[in-house]
């Protein structure tokens, strides 16, 4: 796998967006769990 080349920037941006969405979902999941416990 050759990681040099023009696609590296696109891959990094894609990974950042995906990680951002993922962390937001993880936080939401935790919040929902807390709210379920409270109610």
């Amino acid at each position: 796998m050759d990681l040099s080349g023009g696609n590296l920037g696109v891959v990094v941006v894609n990974l950042i967006i995906w990680t951002g969405i993922f962390l937001w979902l993880l936080r939401l999941s935790r919040r929902v769990r807390e709210m379920e416990k409270e109610s």
Partner: protein
Amino acid sequence: MKTISAWLLWLWVSLVIVGAFYYAPLAEGFQGGSSRILFFHVPMAWASFAGFIAAAVWSVRYLMTRDLRHDRSAYVAVQLGLVFGVLATITGAIWARIEWGAYWNWDPRQTSILISLLFYGAYLALRGAVEDPEKRARLSAAYAILGLVVTPFLYWIMPRLTFSLHPEPVVNAEGKPKMQSEILQVLMASGIGFTALFFWLHNLQTRIQALAERKSAAREQGYGS
């Protein structure tokens, strides 16, 4: 979803992203790297289709049991089906701009997904128009079951009835995918990732919906007393 499973999903999708650019070769006959959108566009369309079919299945279960939890699951499946359907339409339009020169061409594939989105948009409108939860669940279940006929027709049959510029679907008329094995591997991995993401989102949204319903019921009780 347990935190460890969630992190496994993160790793899986991350590997799909890397694989789409560094493992799978470019498909022949496409301009530049436009074929790479396939790894995201096709699984999004698949997740949308799965959402609409799952909604019909949950609707059948609701009619059999009259358990409003199934109605809630069907509702959320339609919501997610619409989200993934819109994303598939957008990614398809971007691809069409590169390959066909215009974002929208009224190609049978584009037309059928648009009709499908309108059909399920009407499902949401129907739900919004009925206040009584039992009546709303019954009517929307019947509508979603109708989707069991409409969705396969729009996704699989209609685009094959007329000439289309759209590339051959993954499972074509001969029932065999015609693509290099590396492309197929990344595509399948992406399909699995998107399906898992769909069910995670479904689980979350169903629970949020349940919390909202409980809260609004408590508020109504408060007003009543």
